[in-house]
């Protein structure tokens, strides 16, 4: 080490969440009742503002098989495009009935996952730009050494997506499609389908954030 370097701490290295990640992060999925308050995939309460949506999909490995042990978390702005965080500097009013965050595990049999949330509003980007409505996603599982970060965009936001600085920073335009969730309606409920392919054909774009 050079004596003239100032001392910074190295980030603690990542390790896989392992096959039993549910015990710690979703104990009820492992049939463990310990905590009074458990985190889950329901981001909305009756008072939450905004359009209700369900996000759902599967996560596939390099052979195209669904991961049945994967854990997903999402982080998103409220209906007005504000993050419920002190670090949001937009100066807009935040929805007090929205945490913006949820966590779920894929179904142990089918690999399906889902979140009940609201469609986020547009958030400011850097240098006066505007980001299209989007939701940050991170994946953890056995065999994933460091959490995989991606983003969900919406297929009914064609113009906003075309101007999104992060989507446009992906050099290969065809790969941008891997981040677009597909809207359907099921029994009057708005559902966006978002499949994630960790490896192989149509591999999802993952970000170094």
């Amino acid at each position: 080490m050079n004596a003239w370097n100032f001392q910074e701490l190295k980030e603690t290295p990542s390790q896989t969440g392992g096959p039993y990640v549910h015990i710690g992060l979703l104990p009820q999925q492992a049939n463990i009742e310990v905590f009074e308050h458990n985190f889950n995939n329901q981001l909305v309460s009756e008072k939450t503002q905004g359009q209700r949506i369900r996000l759902e999909g599967q996560v596939f490995d390099g052979l195209g098989l669904p991961l049945r042990d994967v854990l997903l978390e999402i982080w998103q702005a409220d209906a007005n495009g504000v993050y419920p965080s002190q670090a949001d500097t937009q100066g807009k009013t935040v929805d007090p009935n929205f945490l913006g965050w949820g966590r779920t595990g894929a179904n142990f049999e089918t690999g399906f996952w889902s979140f009940n949330t609201i469609k986020p509003g547009a958030v400011a980007g850097r240098k006066g730009s505007t980001q299209a409505p989007h939701i940050a996603v991170v994946l953890f599982a056995r065999g994933i050494n460091i959490g995989l970060n991606t983003r969900i965009y919406f297929d009914d936001e064609i113009e906003a997506n075309a101007n999104d600085p992060i989507l446009n920073s992906i050099e290969w335009a065809t790969r941008r499609q891997t981040l677009i969730a597909k809207r359907t309606e099921v029994d009057g409920e708005v559902v966006y389908r978002f499949d994630i392919r960790i490896q192989g054909e149509d591999e999802t774009v993952f970000f170094d954030i």
């Binding site: 910074e8 701490l9 190295k10 980030e11 603690t12 290295p13 990542s14 390790q15 969440g17 096959p19 039993y20 015990i23 710690g24 992060l25 492992a30 463990i32 310990v34 905590f35 009074e36 490995d61 390099g62 991961l67 982080w75 993050y83 965080s85 670090a87 949001d88 500097t89 937009q90 945490l99 913006g100 965050w101 142990f108 958030v123 980007g125 850097r126 240098k127 980001q131 940050a136 991170v138 953890f140 065999g143 994933i144 050494n145 460091i146 959490g147 995989l148 983003r151 600085p165 992060i166 920073s169 960790i198 490896q199 192989g200 591999e203 774009v205 993952f206 970000f207 170094d208 954030i209």
Partner: protein, 241 residues
Amino acid sequence: MLIHTLGAYAQRNTDDHPPAYTPGYKTSVLRSPKNALISINETLTEVTSPHFSPSLFGPKDNDLILNYAKDGLPVGERIIVHGYVRDQFGHPVKNALLEVWQANASGRYRHPNDKFIGAMDPNFGGCGRILTDENGFFIFRTIKPGPYPWRNRINEWRPAHVHFSLIADGWAQRLISQFYFEGDTLIDTCPILKTIPSEEQRRALIALEDKNNFIESDSRCYRFDIHLRGRRATYFENDLT
């Protein structure tokens, strides 16, 4: 006037972490992207993060010895683990959510998919959580986990370890990892620990016994510190909006 406000998180040094593809840990082979990660200029999405109210936490949440105890106490070595969460610039990370999970003293997890013959402990659940305090300090009490076999090569044993997860001030700080215990002879050959290329960084995951702290005739104590990414200053023109 030059004003110091907070900007983006300093870029992650990927050499400090395992790569995605690590064939010695076989499961990573089909679960690693082949394409390079796309590096992005952080936005508000990456510098914000959920906040957790202390009201969500119960008094036994950080006590794995008591939080699942039914008819008695769990079997095994009673230990206390404590440490500080700091960012890379040395600032304490306050009110961060630290979640931990682990096997019991036999190396068995309370999980429907764990088929290891090691005995289940009826009084041990294996999970806990803590909010760090104003100094970034955390403490929890548990049973020292046992090593256990797993399918990688035929005879592969994990060193004793505790999994941990952190949610702090920014989404870019999100981290999941595992810590190990000083003196465990399985550490040197563990394929999962060896996914980390740097020896210095592998050592950073080993909790050391804190001999000055203990509960007499009751518990030993381990010290483990955690370092997360820190934010740069905007006077270097990395404005987020």
